[in-house]
C-alpha cells in the first residue's frame, strides 16, 4: 500500500468505516439482483436454440444424409474400467469400419458409478453443447430426466428400419418407451435379482441353494448355527441395501404388480404387501453382517468367495468380479435367482440416445445402428460381462453364466430395476435410496414406511 493509503485509513473514523461497510452491504443485493436479471435474460438461449434444430417429429432420423462432411463423433460415457472400456472400444472399431476417417472422441468421465458423468452431462446439455450420443440407463432415468425435458429425439424409425422392435422382447420395448416412442437403443442387459453363493460352504453344511423365501430362512438358520454369516451385504456405496430391497419387492409383489409400484404412488401407502416386504427385508438383514456400512458390494462379494459368508444378493456384475478374482464358476461359487423371484428377470440396461442438437447427427445415427446391431452387441457384451438386449445373440461368444442369463432373459417375465434407473426417475431413486440406507442402520420399520411413502411423492 502507498503511504497515502495508510494515511487515508488512519484518517477514517470508525463510524465512517462502518457506514461504508453498511453501504456496501446495501449495494450488494441491488447488484446481485441486476446480475440475476441478466442471467435470467440469458436463460432462454438454450431453449430458443432448440427450434433451429430439426424438430423431433418432422425430420426422420434416417433421412438421407445431406452430404455435408461430418468428420467427428463424440460419445459420452462412464465406461472407464477394464472390460467395459474394452467393450466400448470394440464398438468404436465396428463404427470405424463403417465410417472410416471419422475421428471418434471418447468423452468418458470416470468414477461414482456414473454420478460424475451425469453431472458433467447435465452441464453440457444445459449449455447447449450436447455430445453426439451419451450413455444413459434405459427406461425412466432417460425418460424422467431427458425426454420430458424435451432434450431427446425419438428414434422409432431406426427401431423399425433396423428391425430392433422384432428382436428385442416386447415387455422390454414397452418398459423403455415413452408415449409409444423410443428414445434410446439398449446395448446391454444386466440382471439385478441374483443370489451368489459359496458352493464349498453349502456342500460342507449339506445345503441346497434356496429357491423360495422360506427355504432361504431355513438355509440361513443352519448357516448361522454353523458360524458362517448367511448373507453378505455391503452399504458403503449406498446402493447395496436398496438393491436388496428391490429383489424383496419383486418376491413379494411378483413381476406383474411390482412395476405398478412406480406408476401408482398411492400403492406405497394403501397396499398391505408393503409392510410384508419391509418385514421381509428386516428378516433378511437379521441374517446379514452388521458392518455393512463399511463394505462396498465388492467387499461383500469377496467374503462369499473367501467362505466367511455364504451368500450375497447382487447384480450379475458380481460374476465378473468373481471371475477376475480367479474363482471358478460351478466349483467355488454358484448362482440362483434371488429367493422367491425365480421366473422373473429384474433388468437394467445401458443405452445410447440421440440428443436434440447433436453436432454430428448423421454419425450419431450410424453409431446408434452399430449399438443396436447383432455384431455390435455380440462384440460389446462378452467383454462387458452382460447380455445383449437382442434375443438373437450368438451364444457361442458368451461364457457359462451369460449363456444361462441369455436363456432366462428370453423366457422369464421382465421387470425394471428401480435402483439402476429403469423403473423410476432420479429424484425418486435418491429418496428411495435414502430411506433404505437410513433403515439399514436404524432398522426402524415405521420410519422406513414413512420415508417410502414420502419418496413416492417424487413419482410423477
Amino acid at each position: 500500500m502507498t503511504s497515502t493509503g495508510r494515511e487515508y485509513s488512519r484518517e477514517m473514523t470508525r463510524r465512517e468505516m462502518l457506514r461504508r461497510f453498511l453501504a456496501l452491504g446495501l449495494a450488494l443485493p441491488g447488484g446481485t439482483a441486476l446480475l440475476a436479471a441478466c442471467a435470467g435474460g440469458q436463460q432462454p438461449t438454450p431453449t430458443t436454440a432448440a427450434p433451429t434444430q430439426p424438430p423431433a417429429g418432422q425430420a426422420s432420423p434416417t433421412a438421407p444424409t445431406t452430404g455435408q462432411a461430418e468428420d467427428k463423433l463424440e460419445i459420452f460415457s462412464w465406461w472407464t474400467n477394464p472390460g467395459e472400456a474394452d467393450g466400448l472400444k470394440a464398438l468404436f472399431d465396428l463404427f470405424s469400419q463403417r465410417r472410416p476417417g471419422v475421428e471418434i472422441i471418447n468423452a468418458t468421465v470416470a468414477g461414482g458409478a456414473g454420478t460424475n458423468a451425469k453431472a458433467v452431462l447435465v452441464t453440457r446439455m444445459q449449455g447447449g453443447n450436447p455430445p453426439d450420443s451419451f450413455q444413459v440407463h434405459a427406461g425412466q432415468e432417460l425418460i424422467g430426466t431427458w425426454v420430458v425435458a424435451g432434450k431427446m429425439e425419438p428414434i422409432n424409425d431406426l427401431f423399425e428400419q433396423e428391425g430392433w422392435n422384432k428382436v428385442m422382447p416386447k415387455t422390454l420395448l414397452d418398459q423403455i418407451s415413452h408415449e409409444g416412442k423410443f428414445y434410446s437403443v439398449p446395448v446391454n442387459i444386466h440382471r439385478s435379482n441374483m443370489l451368489w453363493y459359496n458352493k464349498r460352504v453349502f456342500e460342507a453344511n449339506n445345503l441346497q441353494p434356496p429357491k423360495t423365501v422360506d427355504e432361504f430362512y431355513q438355509v440361513a438358520e443352519k448357516l448361522k448355527s454353523a458360524g458362517v454369516t448367511p448373507l453378505s451385504v455391503g452399504g458403503k456405496d449406498k446402493f447395496e441395501v436398496p438393491h436388496l430391497f428391490e429383489s424383496v419387492l419383486l418376491a413379494v409383489f411378483g413381476p406383474e404388480d411390482y412395476p405398478k409400484l412406480f406408476g401408482d404412488p398411492g400403492m406405497w401407502e394403501s397396499d398391505a404387501r408393503i409392510q410384508e416386504a419391509i418385514d421381509m427385508l428386516d428378516q433378511f438383514l437379521s441374517y446379514a453382517n452388521e458392518d455393512r456400512a463399511a463394505l462396498s458390494w465388492a467387499d461383500a462379494a469377496q467374503r462369499v468367495i473367501d467362505g466367511s459368508a455364504a451368500m450375497t444378493i447382487m447384480g450379475d456384475w458380481a460374476y465378473g468380479y468373481f471371475i477376475n478374482k480367479g474363482a471358478q464358476p460351478g466349483q467355488v461359487f454358484g448362482w440362483v435367482p434371488a429367493p422367491g423371484t425365480d421366473g422373473s428377470f429384474l433388468w437394467l440396461s445401458d443405452s445410447f440416445g440421440l440428443p436434440i442438437g447433436a453436432p454430428h447427427r448423421n454419425n450419431a445415427i450410424e453409431w446408434l445402428k452399430v449399438c443396436g446391431s447383432r455384431e455390435g452387441q455380440d462384440a460389446f457384451n462378452p467383454k462387458k460381462g452382460s447380455i445383449p438386449a437382442r434375443t438373437d445373440a450368438d451364444k457361442s461368444k458368451y461364457d457359462e453364466y451369460l449363456r444361462y442369463s441369455i436363456e432366462r432373459f428370453a423366457q422369464d417375465k421382465l421387470a425394471p430395476s428401480v435402483v439402476h434407473g429403469a423403473a423410476a426417475n432420479e429424484a425418486y431413486m435418491t429418496e428411495y435410496n435414502n430411506a433404505l440406507n437410513v433403515f439399514s442402520a436404524s432398522r426402524d420399520k415405521d420410519q422406513l414406511k414413512g420415508m417410502l411413502i414420502d419418496a413416492a411423492k417424487e413419482l410423477k
Binding site: 470508525r14 446480475l35 451425469k118 452388521e290 458392518d291 456400512a293 463399511a294 466367511s308 431413486m429
Partner: protein, 339 residues
C-alpha cells in the same frame, strides 16, 4: 462542506476552468491510483462471489427442480421442505456435533503440544515438523486411511484398530463406523424434530481423523503466539512468586486469547463446510449418521438434479458460516479502526 460548494459555485469572470496546480494534480493522481488498482478485484469479487451468492439465492426460492430451469418464484417452500426432512435435520445435528468436538479437540491438543514444545525441548524443530505434517496431507487421504483403520471386521476376524486391540489383548471391539446409534438418544424431543438428538457414534472416528489432521496446525498457531509473549512478563510473575501453573493460567493463557480466536475462526469455517473428509471416510453413512450439508448439497443438486433444493442447502450453509465469520469481521474492523 457548504463553504466549499459556495466557493465553487461562485462565478469566476475570465477564467473558464481553474488552472490545476502541480500539487493538486499530484494529489488527484495519488487518490485515483489506489482506486484504479483495486477496481478489477472489486468487480471480479462482485460478480464471482456476491453475484453468484445472489444467483444461488434466486435459485433457492424458485421451482427449478429438474434439468430445465424454472425460475418462477416458489416462496420459501424449498427451505420448509429442508427443515422438515430427516436428512437435513440429521445434517444440522451432525455439523454442530462435529464442529464442537473438533474445535475442543484441536484447540486443547494443539495448545498442549505447543506448550510442550515451548519448554525448550531438544530437537524441537523435529517434533514441530512431525506434528505439523498431517496438515500437509489432503483430507481425502486422511479419510481413506482412517476409514480402513475403523472398519471393524467381524468378531473373530478383526481388522484395523480392532486387530490392534486384539493383538495387545484389549477386550474392545469398536463398531462405531458401522452403526447409526446416537448417544444418548431417546428422551423427550419436540414433535417437529425427526432425528434423535445427541452424538452419533459414527461421528467419533470422523472427529478423531479431523483432530489428527488439524491439531498440528493449531499447535503451530499457538507456538507462534507463545513466542510473541515477552519473556519479561513471565519472569516478572515468577519473581513475584507465581508457580509455573499460575504463570500459565494468569499470564500466558490470557495473552493467547487472540490466537485462540483466530484458530476458532480458521477451524470453525473448515468444520462447517467439511465435505472431502466425510465423503471419503463414511460417505455420510451409516444412515446419515455422519452426513453433512455439503454432501447433501452435492447429491441433491448433481445426483437428483433438484437445483432449487440444492441452492437452499447452499444458502443455509452460507448463513451458518456467516454466524461465525461476520462477528469476527466486525470485531477486526473495530480493533483496526480504533488502533
Amino acid at each position: 462542506m457548504t463553504g466549499k460548494v459556495i466557493e465553487e459555485a461562485r462565478p469566476r469572470p475570465g477564467v473558464a476552468t481553474r488552472p490545476m496546480t502541480a500539487r493538486s494534480r499530484y494529489r488527484l493522481v495519488e487518490r485515483l491510483i489506489p482506486i484504479l488498482m483495486i477496481t478489477p478485484s472489486i468487480i471480479a469479487i462482485a460478480v464471482f462471489v456476491y453475484g453468484f451468492i445472489g444467483w444461488t439465492t434466486v435459485v433457492s426460492v424458485s421451482r427449478w427442480q429438474g434439468i430445465v430451469p424454472d425460475l418462477s418464484f416458489a416462496g420459501f417452500r424449498n427451505y420448509a421442505a429442508l427443515l422438515t426432512s430427516y436428512r437435513f435435520q440429521s445434517d444440522i445435528r451432525n455439523t454442530i456435533v462435529f464442529t464442537v468436538f473438533f474445535l475442543i479437540g484441536s484447540l486443547s491438543i494443539g495448545l498442549l503440544l505447543a506448550v510442550l514444545l515451548d519448554s525448550k525441548v531438544r530437537g524441537e524443530s523435529f517434533f514441530r515438523t512431525v506434528y505439523l505434517f498431517p496438515m500437509a496431507l489432503s483430507f481425502v487421504v486422511t479419510g481413506t486411511v482412517w476409514q480402513w483403520l475403523f472398519t471393524p471386521g467381524a468378531p473373530g476376524q478383526p481388522t484395523g484398530l480392532n486387530l490392534l486391540f486384539e493383538q495387545i489383548g484389549l477386550p474392545v471391539f469398536q463398531t462405531w463406523s458401522t452403526v447409526s446409534h446416537v448417544w444418548p438418544g431417546g428422551g423427550w424431543k419436540p414433535e417437529w424434530l425427526r432425528v434423535p438428538f445427541g452424538v452419533p457414534l459414527a461421528m467419533i472416528p470422523v472427529i478423531i481423523a479431523a483432530i489428527w489432521q488439524m491439531s498440528g496446525f493449531t499447535m503451530a498457531m499457538y507456538l507462534a503466539g507463545l513466542r510473541a509473549i515477552p519473556d519479561e512478563l513471565r519472569e516478572a510473575a515468577r519473581v513475584d512468586g507465581a508457580s509455573e501453573w499460575q504463570v500459565f493460567r494468569w499470564i500466558t493463557f490470557p495473552l493467547l486469547q487472540p490466537v485462540t480466536l483466530s484458530a476458532v475462526i480458521v477451524l470453525g469455517h473448515i468444520s462447517l463446510k467439511i465435505f472431502d473428509l466425510i465423503m471419503t471416510q463414511t460417505g455420510g453413512g451409516p444412515g446419515f449418521a455422519t452426513d453433512v450439508p455439503g454432501i447433501f448439497m452435492y447429491e441433491t443438486t448433481f445426483k437428483s438434479n433438484k437445483y432449487a433444493e440444492g441452492a437452499a442447502v447452499a444458502i443455509v450453509m452460507l448463513l451458518m458460516v456467516s454466524v461465525l465469520i461476520v462477528p469476527y469481521l466486525i470485531w477486526r474492523l473495530r480493533t483496526e479502526t480504533e488502533r
